[in-house]
């Protein structure tokens, strides 16, 4: 079974022989590291595990999430510490989205030279350059959707010649979209008001007053919508 095959990888320059079935992250542990950095969810959600690698014979440096990438024979890798990124402070309640919002907080996005390095590096296959282009044009909602699956790993920012912190700019676009651009939810507003006005107190108290047998009966016969 190919799962058992052993291969050589180079962790921080040193050679280790590890099973080929492991992820980059697992291979470090197999080698004997106990990870204290560069490891969080182990499932591709938190972006903690950005790793730079190169495979012997290939000149290109690649970046990947260590928990989502299998080791390859002759792989040289090293973990990337979280990439320092610009994060201006703002109070989301104090401004509405306007054409100049991005220019105010992230003026550097207008220095993009269209090199596409950000997109090429993104482990989530996002069109990063495109979402920055949307941000430049004040198209916050488009930027929000295009960037939605971002795990804030910082790989894009580590490669950008213009010094852009893509994931933070996109986060601002998403927050503006969620708060201001998408219509308000009527039924939510209503329910919050009803509860605050005490309209649901009685029905809750009533059901809280039931003993377990009565609750069971109610539960087992409750109507369930399709």
């Amino acid at each position: 079974m190919s799962e058992k095959k052993m291969i050589d990888v180079y962790i921080f320059g040193k050679k280790y022989t590890v099973p080929s079935s492991l992820t980059i992250m697992d291979s470090m542990e197999y080698a004997g590291y106990q990870l204290t950095k560069g490891c969080g969810c182990r499932s591709g959600f938190c972006g903690a595990c950005s790793t730079i690698y190169r495979v012997k014979g290939d000149k290109e440096l690649k970046i990947a999430l260590a928990c989502q990438t299998k080791v390859e024979d002759g792989m040289y890798f090293t973990q990337l510490p979280f990439f320092p990124g610009e994060k201006p402070l703002y109070n989301i309640n104090e401004f509405e989205p306007a054409m100049d919002t991005m220019a105010k907080f992230y003026p550097e996005i207008y220095k993009c030279i269209g090199c596409n390095s950000c997109t090429n590096g993104c482990p989530q296959d996002l069109n990063v350059m495109q979402y920055i282009a949307h941000a430049q044009r004040g198209e916050f909602e488009k930027c929000a959707h295009e960037s939605f699956d971002c795990v804030s790993c910082g790989i894009c920012a580590s490669r950008c010649p213009a010094g852009i912190t893509h994931y933070n700019a996109a986060l601002l676009a998403r927050r503006l979209t969620g708060k201001y651009i998408v219509p308000e939810t009527e039924h939510l507003k209503n329910k919050v008001q009803e509860i605050a006005a005490g309209e649901h107190d009685q029905s809750i108290e009533e059901i809280m007053g039931k003993n377990i047998e009565e609750l069971k009966e109610l539960y087992n016969t409750r109507d369930i919508t399709k």
Partner: protein
């Protein structure tokens, strides 16, 4: 890629599909549910559990792995720490940078408290970040908090603390509104109506989501807000012990820098424990969906100061963890996959359980199919799984549904060359959630004065079984409540001298009860070798 053998077996799924589509498999009767749980659920047999020999819950049943940590010694046992040298002096110390911690910190800060968040990994590298499916709240016109309450109680086998369950459901709509107002992008119709779905055990469609990045979206927005408010965050700085003052009230903690191993003393007027779950203890050898730092530290440290544990012996095994490929073994296959219509099938391509039973029942049925009935599909690593017929989703809701509604799932499998739109996936239960924890009241307070608990390390809200979507809800509801209460309370608090006499007493207690252990706890991080020593 599937092995040739698996590819062959998956053909059975395709063969039976036309007979299954559009036909609902019957739900189990209440008696059948009890039967399958008793026979198969890991919590329902005594194997894997021990009884505590000391402390507030002496005599209580806990999983072996947790019990060993509760009966281990403090990491401070041989340390001389000068408690007069205070490194951080704050009003509210929040331990843990997940959703509950962030919500608590924001509210406490809003009340004017000086807040410090300290966290084991990076801020936000937490179970919250990984939640995919969604968050419940009864805010639709055909729904109500009372209906939500009944579902919560039924799901929890009527063991939930009623006051906590009712607080959860009553605060739910305002929790969603709070998040929405912070800018969380919930899935909505064009007119602003929330798109809501069913989860296992819900009587109304009340699961709100943000694609299958629900937790990530909530977490990154709250994290951004904590940064905007300039709340101080210490990353890679786990707490290793709580501190009390000479009156026995919570008054701070000792933290340890993961890199330098230096210890620091925090003095705080109130302490909010929000350290999350325990999946990385791998109870009974199960794989887990949890993040790397989910090692029950909060339970251990809380127990050491005398806070009471509730339902610590009930664990949630999510019915659908990844059984194959091995690189992501145990990772979560969100319940949303089943909400959208994917059904579990055995080796013969037959459905054997309704796809949206409560999680404990669904997981037990899968374990029975594999381990008792011998109808599981073997995986190359020697385990078993059952099919989850994901292509059904596209047949029911149209092509493109998976890409739109389950982008994270699709991406995770594609990285290992499996296309869940075209082929079914293999699943087996995974250790997912700690149903119990440190007992709280409706403001998150424990019996130890000035010690609050919020989120997954709190106990009582969900009784012995939590429904999908009620955990993201509870971290917001009780995180906020703890933050507000602590943020109002600290003003009247005068701290006496700091001590760790309670640690000494704890060690004495262990000795008096003849507990011997060479271990130290909390665990902080698990050690993995991936079979190196074999």
């Amino acid at each position: 890629m599937y092995t040739a053998e698996m590819r062959e077996l998956s053909k059975k799924v395709e063969e039976t599909r036309s007979q299954r589509i559009g036909i609902n498999f019957p739900r189990m009767s209440p008696e059948d549910k009890i039967g399958v749980l008793n026979e198969n659920h890991p919590d329902y047999s005594d194997k894997g559990f021990m009884y505590l020999k000391h402390g507030v819950n002496k005599g209580a049943r806990v999983p072996n792995e947790l019990g060993e940590l509760l009966e281990a010694k403090s990491k401070l046992v041989n340390l001389e720490i000068n408690l007069d040298k205070i490194d951080y002096d704050v009003d509210v110390l929040v331990i843990g940078g997940g959703g509950a911690g962030a919500a608590a910190a924001l509210e406490a800060n809003e009340k004017g408290a000086k807040v410090l968040i300290t966290t084991k990994l990076r801020f936000g590298d937490a179970n919250t970040m990984m939640a995919e499916g969604g968050i419940q709240a009864a805010d639709k016109p055909d729904d109500s908090p009372a209906k939500h309450y009944l579902d919560v109680m039924g799901g929890g086998h009527y063991t939930n603390v009623p006051e906590l369950a009712s607080t959860l459901v009553k605060d739910a709509p305002s929790a969603i509104k709070w998040l929405n107002d912070l800018g969380v992008m919930f899935d909505k119709e064009k007119d602003g109506t929330m798109i809501t779905n069913h989860g296992g055990g819900t009587s109304r469609k009340r699961m709100h989501s943000a694609a299958d990045y629900s937790g990530a979206e909530i977490m990154r927005v709250m994290r951004d807000e904590v940064r905007n408010k300039e709340i101080e965050v210490l990353e890679f700085s786990p707490v290793i012990e709580l501190l009390l003052d000479t009156d026995g009230k919570a008054a701070g903690a000792v933290i340890c820098d993961l890199e330098t191993k230096r210890n620091f003393v925090v003095r705080a007027k109130t302490v909010i424990m929000a350290t999350g779950g325990a999946g990385r203890l791998h109870y009974q050898g199960f794989p887990t969906s949890n993040h790397y730092g989910a090692t029950a530290d909060g339970l251990v440290m809380g127990y050491r100061v005398g806070a009471e544990l509730a339902f610590a012996d009930t664990i949630q095994y999510h019915p659908t963890g990844v059984a194959y490929p091995s690189q992501i073994f145990g990772a979560l296959v969100t319940e949303k996959v089943r909400s959208l219509g994917a059904t579990p099938l055995n080796i013969h391509g037959e459905q054997f359980v309704y796809h949206l039973e409560t999680r404990d029942v669904e997981a037990s049925a899968i374990i029975r199919e594999c381990n008792v009935k011998g109808n599981g599909i073997p995986t190359p690593t020697g385990g078993y799984g059952v099919w989850l017929d994901t292509p059904l989703i596209e047949m029911i809701h149209g092509e493109g549904t998976i890409e739109k509604k389950l982008p994270a799932m699709l991406r995770m499998y594609l990285k290992f060359d499996l296309d869940m739109r075209k082929k079914p996936i293999l699943v087996y239960p995974t250790l997912h959630y700690q149903n119990g924890g440190l007992l709280i009241d409706k403001n998150g307070q424990t019996k130890i004065e000035n010690l609050y608990v919020a989120g997954e390390c709190a106990g009582g809200i969900h009784g012995t079984n939590r429904l999908m979507g009620n955990s993201l809800l509870d971290i917001i509801v009780f995180g906020r409540r703890a933050g507000i209460h602590a943020g109002e309370n600290f003003k009247d608090i005068k701290i006496k001298d700091l001590t760790f006499d309670h640690v000494r007493k704890y060690h004495e207690d262990l000795e008096n009860n003849e507990v011997e252990s060479s271990q130290f706890s909390p665990m902080i991080l698990p050690i993995y070798t991936h079979g190196r020593e074999k």
